[in-house]
Amino acid sequence: MYIAVKGGERAIDASRRLLAAARRGDAALPELAAAQIEQQMGLLVGRVMAEASLYDPPLAALALRQAYGDAIEATFLLRAYRTTLPRFAYSEPVDTDRMRVDRRVCAIFKDLPGGQLLGPTFDYTQRLLDFATQAGEPPVVDDAAGADVEAVPNALSQLAREGLVEPCEPSDGDPEPPDITRDPPAYPLPRTGWLQMLARADEGWVLGMGYSTQRGYAHTHPFAGDLRSGRVVVELVPDELDFAIEIGEVELTECQMINQFVGSAEVAPVFTRGQGLVFGRGERKAIAMSLVDRALRAAEFGEEASSPAQQQEFALPQGDSVEASGFVQHLKLPHYVTFESELQLIRKLRADVHARAADVARQGDAG
């Protein structure tokens, strides 16, 4: 009898040691410091924080190192840690109009109050791999750096004052947003719920869903109204005080998309909005998120919801990278029992078919 029934425990131990060694790589090379990841892989750190719903750059960098550079695995580590943190309070809503922007572009006006501020962007780099830096990078001369710009008015404010763009203020009686990390989702979710889900959804998923709205699966006629990155203060009102105090600041990227809406029987034509807001400098995701947000508002505007990006139960739960990654990969867990059940069934079904064929043949012979 050689069927292995013992050994699972030893195999797991060995696998953990092999992973540690593989992750470390060539021991002759210096170990990567988490601070280096935080400083030099900032976009990746931002992505992990966004998908983990936890703003903590040093821990995100640590998670990335421990995760062997895998963004979803790092997100998973950070989320599992986040679960254990107590909730002291809920902050006040952050005010992105007060963002200290280091980048703000507006695609709908040539110039506007606050101006166009390109900031650090890949947009106008030429994508030529720089072989000269293989041996090391020369020191960076930061002569382009200016001070952060204080509060730049949102590009849509003027249009909103004229009534051409819908206002973006909570309506009277707006309920408290659900907390998607504490409350199980009940579909259909309110917009506050789906925005939370999109903000921490997998960047690739949101990108694809947003892209689908540009290729005919829902039409949103988008214009990038105001796209900005920078730091925003976080405030909360402690129980003991009746005013808000600053507790820190976070780096955010926001996209306010404006979209054509021709109006309906009750509503005059007006430009509508889609919003994307993410931790870090996830500009690609913020833009895509604003497209999906607007697409998901189909019911609100009486639009036919026939495309995936307009359907909450398709666009939202499938976009969670940690949930999707776990469930897709659980297929490598043992399924001996369910497969054995299927084997039995398919053998019986095949036997039924062969028996019927034999019957038919016999009857043919008899006739």
């Binding site: 013992k6 504490r182 139960e313 659980h330 399924h335």
Partner: protein
Amino acid sequence: MSDIAHGYNFAYLDERTKKMIRRALLKAVAIPGHQVPFGSREMPLAYGWGTGGIQVTAAVIGRDDVLKVIDQGSDDTTNAVNIRQFFACTTGVRTTTRTREATLIQTRHRIPETPLADGQVLVYQVPQPEPLYRLEPRRAETTRLHASEEYGLVNVKLYEDLAQWGRVETSYDYPVKVDGRYVMSPSPIPAFDNPKMHMSPALQLFGAGREKRLYAIPPYTDVRSLDFEDHPFRIEPQGHACERCGDGTSFLDEVAGADGRVRWTCSDTDWCAGRVDQGHRHE
């Protein structure tokens, strides 16, 4: 208890989270077979690997419990080992492989062959709690179907199977009706195990972490596999006996050998070991 994880609460989850889960479980026990939404937490094990079962176990486990964890009927499959280690180091409770000794059993894909007893708790890991999801993927819609006891979809599916194949084309995760009211997923246990749920003296708890749902079957509850009067649900024997203990009544794994010969062994390793201890052998 020297290797209890430092810095974490007993059984990992904080007490307020456990309380939230216990409340959901109480509701689940009060409405047998009904899926109760709960604030599922992100666990340090991957979704799809038992996060629902782990949260249920963490919420109900006490210092005096004796824990058994099985996957595919075996205590030694890697995922069962990992989950058992997780609870051993976060609770320090005694673990066992013996079904009779355990007060709390977490399982994936099987119900132990040894009949469960009064006072035992069986926790199932559930990947997909919604028994209707293949027929209607929108959960907003399936919630309405359950509320109005509208199970026409699943009856039509069974009927179509019978019409096309002469038998129901479902061999695991075969839906059951609990206490004459709710259609429920038994989790992907083989249909072979379904009858064990009926009138079981044990409390059966089901946790689906990713889908954020809990449900339960209280002890001594009527659990029927869906069928028709003229096509009653039945278990067909596998027609083999275990290579080790000779049992032909337990659920058997089929293992292909390098010599091309197929061997059959009990999926429930504790059951098999118990029979070998009693002197049973393959003829």
